[in-house]
Subunit: 216 residues, 2 copies
């Protein structure tokens, strides 16, 4: 199964960062065990590619335009259950890992993982294993805001509030956020209201400005 001369593991790569995708393609191709058979720049495109031919493994980035990696992963897991999905992300949170695992993703790893580890994970996943990085509780709260602990304490925002603020600033509507986080729209609105009051800003515009001005 993993003998290079007989049957390499086939892979597809979905990432809007072409340099990354090209680079990944290159280092994987240097390994005799792997064969990259497709690349896509967004969730929609990878769905289209998989409609035409399946790979053993799909390496997919979470942050992509048009159709993001999380939603795409869920669809792919449902539509193409033989394709084992490895999700790459700059961010790693327990909640996210749990979500991905539940939807059928086989591995979730950070983009700062080294190549040798990735090769091993790919082989493990191809053999039916899963890989979800273990995190210590005090470092699980990672998101795009700079120096998260201090940021949070300074402005008294909860983890959930930060998460929702991030999505708001990424132009998600409350109903989209509700769908994405599997909570009620009422809950989203309550978090928004709480943030507006805590931060003493004017509505959504104030929240967006706050998010941008305090983002790394």
């Amino acid at each position: 199964m993993n003998d290079a001369t007989i049957n390499p593991i086939t892979l597809m790569i979905a990432d809007d960062h072409q340099l990354f995708a090209d680079g990944l393609h290159s280092i994987l191709s240097e390994q005799g065990d792997f064969k990259v058979i497709g690349k896509a720049a967004n969730g929609k495109e990878i769905l289209h590619l998989l409609n035409h031919s399946l790979s053993d493994i799909l390496i997919i980035d979470l942050n992509m335009p048009v159709l993001d990696g999380e939603i795409a992963s869920e669809k792919i897991s449902r539509l193409f259950p033989s394709v084992k999905i490895i999700v790459l992300s700059m961010y790693y949170t327990t909640n996210l890992a749990i979500r991905l695992k539940e939807m059928g993703v086989k591995a979730f790893i950070k983009k700062d993982t080294d190549a040798q580890s990735l090769f091993k994970i790919i082989k493990d996943v191809a053999q039916g294993n899963t890989y979800f990085q273990k995190l210590k509780p005090e470092i699980q709260e990672v998101n795009s805001f700079d120096d998260d602990d201090n940021f949070q304490k300074k402005h008294n925002l909860t983890y959930r509030e930060l998460e929702i603020l991030q999505l708001i600033s990424e132009t998600y509507s409350s109903s989209q956020i509700a769908d994405k986080l599997c909570i009620s729209i009422y809950t989203v609105d309550t978090h928004r209201k709480n943030m507006i009051q805590k931060l003493n800003v004017n509505g959504k515009t104030g929240l967006i400005k706050f998010a941008i001005e305090n983002k790394r």
Copy 2:
């Protein structure tokens, strides 16, 4: 100078995403014109490497731990003026581009740039040129940056549109803007609609982000 058999362009890569750095190393090494002579995972480490040996080109990511790419670039530009710096980032704003240019960075490009373009940029930079990426393909923009007076022409926004965009970003609602400018709310909405279409952004959030990111 760029003849592979005689004198390849030497490069160093600074990026905390090892997969990315490894991938980039791999695709650059496939080109006979380039030779990667060092990799670092943070700003401090690249400073240390350059203290021992210089490269022609440094490719550096903005987002790095310990010492980030922007600060590191400024130091490197000062300490090692012969090293030509190419900054990679997920984000591209006019303000940031201006800052980087002023500190001596030779090129600033997005991570979703394709490999062939990167190769060309590296060669151009090695020959003494600079490269600052166009913001939107359909908008005519030369490589030099216009000052505030040309902001309007650059993005094809009318004076009135700019005026309204400014007020939106100051958290004024459409009805408040209509009152302030003594026009109908319908007119305000029409201007908003026109801007959203011109700038190809998502709703008010997109407008606000645009306004903030392009504010002097």
